[in-house]
């Protein structure tokens, strides 16, 4: 029953070179360069080797951005990640101080994170009526609360055996291991979201959940996987965090959820779902990391840095909306 009107429908995509240059990612690259020039101008210590040396502390948070991007693309949010990091780090320290081999410590961290994520996923997929915001808000208190109980009245713990952690804080030449891991994971997460069937389905769910369900997509299974991976990655984040802090306390991982969300949103991933890609998120993440290193070198107070990132997060969401509104009013005139 070939088309009766014989109409032909074009299926050749436009060349994407032009689109790439004028995309948000293109702008982000420019911002990245600008930030680095800025930092180099104002801090005499800012250069590639100091950047590579001071970067690892902040890189651990970049891990969190990767699965957070998936959650945002789903149109959801997870604000419990900072607390999962805290709980994983605490458990790692406890296991480490029991003289367990390093691999067991690492597995503990990953397992605790995974369980935290799976708990979120389980509640959200069993009670689909619940908004992720309130559930992860509750688990945020619970995970950190459990860490508080474990840490006891002192509220902190230090590790006695640092061998494993100093090993993973090592370097190839000047490049720290963690940077390799960040890049490898970023490539994997980007490929899966951008090119794979799984990724396409994530976008479908984030844009129109009902249509996705009617089209035979296992919506709840995919949500469950993503929240669980979010947990696993926060375990990973905790392990690398320990490799520079060698201990945990009740404030470990405070505000990490905001950093991860800020990186993703600044990278052009829509907070309402369905839009954005990992590449943008990664560039944005490195902008923030460089900014932190640069500002840190100038002895800018940690609170001021948080202020800047908070403002950046709000501006990243608000500005495109405002520009859109202005454009619409101009057009309608």
């Amino acid at each position: 029953m070939a088309g009766k009107s014989g109409r032909s429908i074009n299926n050749v995509p436009e060349s994407s070179v032009k689109r790439m240059i004028f995309s948000w990612e293109g702008i982000l690259v420019l911002i990245f360069i600008a930030v680095n020039i800025f930092c180099a101008m104002f801090s005499e210590f800012y250069n590639i080797s100091s950047l590579l040396r001071q970067m690892p502390v902040y890189l651990a948070e970049v891990f969190l951005m990767l699965p957070m991007a998936y959650i945002l693309v789903l149109g959801e949010i997870d604000i419990s990640v900072g607390s999962s990091v805290c709980l994983s780090a605490t458990m790692c320290c406890i296991v480490c101080n029991m003289n367990a081999p390093f691999i067991v410590v690492v597995l503990t961290g990953l397992a605790v994170g995974t369980v935290c994520g799976a708990i979120n996923g389980l509640i959200l997929t069993k009670f689909t009526e619940l908004p992720p915001m309130i559930v992860t808000l509750a688990t945020q208190i619970i995970f950190r609360g459990i860490a508080e109980i474990i840490l006891g009245s002192g509220g902190s713990i230090t590790m006695s055996n640092l061998d494993g952690f100093t090993a993973i804080a090592g370097k190839v030449g000047q490049v720290p291991y963690i940077l390799f891991l960040v890049v490898i994971l970023a490539v994997i997460f980007a490929l899966v979201l951008g090119k794979s069937t799984f990724g396409r389905r994530v976008y479908a769910i984030g844009t129109n959940r009902l249509t996705a369900y009617y089209s035979g997509i296992h919506v709840q299974k995919i949500r469950m996987i993503i929240y669980t991976v979010m947990g696993t990655v926060s375990g990973l984040c905790a392990i690398f965090l320990l490799s520079s802090s060698f201990g945990a306390n009740t404030t470990t991982g405070n505000g990490f959820e905001m950093d991860a969300i800020a990186m993703a949103v600044f990278g052009g991933i829509s907070s309402t779902g369905g839009k954005g890609n990992i590449a943008g998120g990664v560039i944005a993440a490195f902008i923030i990391v460089c900014l932190r290193v640069g500002l840190g070198q100038q002895n800018v107070h940690a609170q001021v840095i948080l202020l800047i990132i908070g403002a950046l997060l709000i501006a990243a969401v608000a500005l495109p909306n405002i520009i859109g509104q202005v454009r619409r009013t101009v057009k309608s005139k």
Partner: protein, 331 residues
């Protein structure tokens, strides 16, 4: 049939259920420790939870329009710290002026948050997450990088929390006045009903001539105002101002509302519910140390669990109610 009517009652009048829970809690705790149910102990409880109780009213408004605000305790810290420093450096002295300044700062914070949410369409959770850090950092900056304003520095201001009027502490009077005002405001004024209308169906409200954006702005300004008031109360009750005060306290306020039956998706909730919700939470916090095994360290975990259980229970009860309604359908 009996079971069905019970379910109906539970879902029907949330306030009645909450009152029952509160009374049961009181009885149980008094049985464990008779010193709980004395006027002094109750007054202390109210005074120590005044901040949460007052701010629950603002959160009620915010959640009624389907929003959320997790920046409130940073607003509280900023406004509280500001007056603390002003009093410490002897710029101001009079307590009323300190209150006005704290409320003013809170309102400005709320206005900024409200503008970003209502005019730039930033999702409330993201906007307030950002402002949570921005305002908290500003509090630190105001405090010259972490200074405290201790009891000595606060002068006569701290006396507010120890003064009594008609035998009741002034702080509790503030709480009573706030609740009385909001009870009237939410039920009997047009603006109050507009908040409900916007939360129930924003697009319909738009069509019937309600300025939805302004109502959304208004609730965040109210929230900011109450956070500012909370800042002044906090400084007065604890006789000190520090930049990290009430860190994480927004969870208490949200928990109070959630327990009080305020819906996360907007449109449903009442002043009475917020009152019972915050009282239940305060009672649990007060009672926890009285129970063997649990100690103060467990408090946060239990709060989180309560929020989780309440929201899950809501869903389960709704499902049961829906199912019963279906069974009743004739075929």
């Amino acid at each position: 049939m009996e079971k069905k009517s019970l379910v109906k009652k539970l879902t029907g009048s949330r306030e009645a259920l909450l009152a029952v829970v509160l009374i049961v809690l009181f009885i149980v705790i008094t049985a464990i420790n008779p010193s709980f149910l004395t006027p002094k102990s109750l007054m202390d409880m109210l005074k120590n939870n005044a901040v949460t109780m007052v701010m629950a009213l603002g959160m009620l408004c915010v959640m009624l329009v389907g929003g959320i605000d997790i920046s409130i305790m940073s607003t509280l810290a900023l406004s509280g710290m500001s007056i603390g420093m002003l009093l410490k450096n002897d710029v101001i002295e009079a307590a009323p002026l300190a209150f006005v300044i704290a409320i003013g700062i809170g309102m400005i914070c709320g206005l900024v948050v409200g503008l970003v949410i209502s005019r730039a369409d930033v999702p409330p959770i993201i906007a307030t997450m950002g402002f949570m850090y921005v305002f908290r950092a500003m509090g630190y900056l105001v405090s010259n990088g972490g200074e405290w304003a201790g009891a000595a520095a606060l002068g006569s201001f701290k006396d507010f929390a120890t003064t009594k009027f008609l035998g009741i502490n002034c702080v509790i009077w503030v709480v009573i006045l706030c609740y009385a005002f909001f009870f009237w405001f939410m039920k009997w004024t047009r603006t109050g009903r507009m908040i409900y209308a916007v939360g129930s169906n924003a697009s319909a409200a738009e069509v019937s001539g309600i300025n939805v954006k302004n109502i959304k702005l208004l609730v965040y300004v109210i929230m900011g105002l109450l956070a500012g008031l909370g800042g002044a109360l906090q400084v007065s009750v604890y006789a000190s101002a520090m930049p990290d005060m009430q860190y994480g306290g927004e969870m208490d306020v949200i928990a109070a509302c959630v327990i009080g039956g305020v819906s996360m998706s907007g449109g449903r909730g009442s002043v009475l519910g917020a009152l019972f919700g915050s009282l239940i939470l305060a009672t649990i916090a007060k009672a926890l140390p009285l129970i063997p095994f649990f100690d103060q360290l467990w408090l946060n975990t239990i709060k989180g669990l309560i929020i989780l259980i309440v929201v899950v229970m809501n869903v389960v009860l709704q499902r049961v109610a829906d199912k019963n309604a279906l069974k009743g359908r004739e075929m």
